[in-house]
Symmetry: C2
Subunit: 102 residues, 2 copies
DNA sequence: TCAGTATATTCCAGTATTCGAATATTACAA
DNA sequence: TTGTAATATTCGAATACTGGAATATACTGA
């Protein structure tokens, strides 16, 4: 129950759904997400923390950069993500311009 | 997106997950749910309203009683409910004692 | 119509969530 | 080491959510 609540709470906010949609096409660093969503970096970090705590995304550090990506190791989460992307289009239209290779 | 948010917000609260679990075995009236969960009736009505607005449950009036049941008309919702019940056990152990046929 | 029961709505206090600003941490490069 | 860039944490204000109490509405039976 606790785990489920964490997952659904994480999913019940627009910014976080947007982040998941952005990650659909592969991993991104915090600065990329911050730039695309036009919010402050601490705020994005906060949302990423909730998503990670819920087990929806995972991170990978590479030097200064931390890359976030979808965590599809859990079957139920995988279903959720599929459903979300199907319903929202998964940010497929958003063009991500990365300033640098990070 | 809006619809999805409604669904996930509805699912991100323990009382509402419990209500869904109770409804797993069939429709119940508000007074039944109120009795089992030991909360005030207005509060239960409030939660039922959110669940209904999200399209997770539907209601059927029969005289004074309003019976709520799972709304499985949407495929994604059906997946969600299955996942929830699998993870929580779906209140399967709770014995519902109904005072009367309602 | 009136009384009683089932459910919904309103109101308010307590709590949680969200955001930006300020600040701290981590890692690298010079 | 020192400076800088990427990310995380803390803090405070605004907003949203939750729960109980009081009240309103809907229906039924007498």
């Amino acid at each position: 129950m606790e785990r489920l609540l964490l997952i659904f709470k994480a999913l019940s906010e627009e910014t976080r759904l947007k982040i998941l949609g952005l990650l659909r096409n592969g991993e991104l660093c915090v600065c990329d997400i911050t730039a695309v969503l036009n919010m402050t970096q601490p705020n994005i970090s906060f949302h990423l923390g909730l998503l990670k705590e819920a087990g929806l995304i995972k991170d990978r550090r590479n030097g200064r950069w931390i890359h976030y990506s979808l965590d599809e190791s859990d079957m139920f989460v995988r279903f959720l993500l599929l459903g979300i992307f199907e319903k929202t289009g998964g940010m497929s239209g958003v063009k991500i311009k990365r300033k640098r290779k990070c």
